[in-house]
């Protein structure tokens, strides 16, 4: 075996493992009935944020994306430290919280909610230090969250500092503008759909529990 091949061996094994896991692991990349995608002939807007070497203290907010005044549709990938949703569970939740909605200069029109997440177990690492991958659909009209999204943030709702690993990232792919928050405002705010200790709702299509599959996938 040459040096080149030796260097590539872990990569090849990893790729093969991923392919087999996806092939036999079920509907990892489910398609959702409400996903709009990008219109033909257009290029989606992608934002890739590396979280390595970042530590968020309790209560810290990390703004990731702001498309005001337009509310948008798209897709979010989050790779972050994780823990089981409950003791003994094989579905993991991120220790950090992903929130989305609209942050307005006038708080009456502000509305931020926890984003429903889909846990991608096939490419998550649950041994210490853990780091799990999640997908989210912006907006998600079936599973909840804010209906009109201009802002996406990370927030530490735990009572401990959260340090991200070397390859933890957020990737935000915005695919279409759905309207203007100026004409479709939120009212009676600020509406904040989270509090200390809260976690994102996490769905898992690939465990044996049919009750945490969420709605709208095929």
């Amino acid at each position: 075996m040459t040096n080149l091949n030796k260097n590539k061996l872990p990569l090849l094994l990893g790729t093969a493992f991923l392919a087999i896991t996806i092939a036999y692991g079920g509907t990892v990349f489910a398609s959702h009935s409400f996903e709009l995608g990008a219109a033909a002939g257009t290029i989606p807007d992608n934002t890739h944020i590396r979280l390595n070497d970042i530590t968020m203290q309790p209560g810290d907010i990390f703004p990731l994306y702001d498309s005001s005044p337009n509310y948008v549709s798209g897709h979010v990938l989050l790779k972050a430290p994780c823990e089981p949703v409950a003791e003994g569970e094989d579905t993991y939740q991120p220790t950090i919280a992903l929130i989305a909605g609209h942050v307005d200069e006038n708080l009456e029109h502000a509305n931020m909610q926890l984003v429903p997440l889909y846990y991608i177990n096939a490419i998550s690492k649950t041994t210490e230090p853990s780091s799990c991958i999640y997908h989210a659909h912006i907006p998600d009209p079936l599973n909840g969250g804010a209906p009109r999204v201009t802002d996406i943030d990370l927030i530490n709702l735990s009572d401990e500092a959260i340090s991200f690993g070397d390859v933890d990232v957020v990737d935000i792919n915005i695919q279409q503008v759905l309207g203007s928050i100026g004409t479709d405002q939120y009212h009676d705010g600020p509406v904040l759909g989270f509090g200390p200790g809260d976690h994102n709702p996490v769905y898992d299509l690939n465990d044996e529990d049919p009750h945490n599959d969420g709605l709208g996938h095929s």
Partner: protein, 203 residues
Amino acid sequence: MKHTTLSLLGVMAAVTLISVIASQEAYAHGNIKIPLTIANGEQRTVQVVLGHTNEPSYGNEPGTWDGIHGVDITVRDADTKLPIKTANLKVDKYFFKNQKKVDKASVPFNPTDADAKDLGVTAGAVFGQPGKFLARQMVIDGIYGYRVYGTVTYFDGTNVPVDFTGFCSDASKFNSPGFSGGYGCIGDIKDTKFPGKKHKMKD
């Protein structure tokens, strides 16, 4: 030279006509909101938007205006504005010649009062435009209204019955309860001509 001048004048007249038409403010479409309960027991709302394509709309005038203004229906989730791609919709089309006929007709709307009708027309999905449904037609000057009925399939597969009537603004008295906003009736393209019959010109 004379021929060139005439051609130039023709082009300028056409450009002026198009500019006048294009600069008019488009009417907003009317819409109705229909509540539903999804599989997890939560409430959602479907919004069905009704109007004519390419508003403001004018009746066919050979050589001037094609009068092609289809019945334009948009189906979407009311809160997110995400388009809903699956729907099976039909349209009953009604026509009144003028305002007098509308004023004479009683409320609630009785289809026999209309001067013309075309029933059970399919509003087909528009290719490449999710949530858009269209019943093509060429219109004449007058007052149009549509009953839209069928089923919208929400994102989780829940079927939502749709049945409402929305007339253009001059006959809004016939609208179903809950139909809000409106769309313009079919005008006469000659009314946009300047100088036209209404304008006095110096000798």
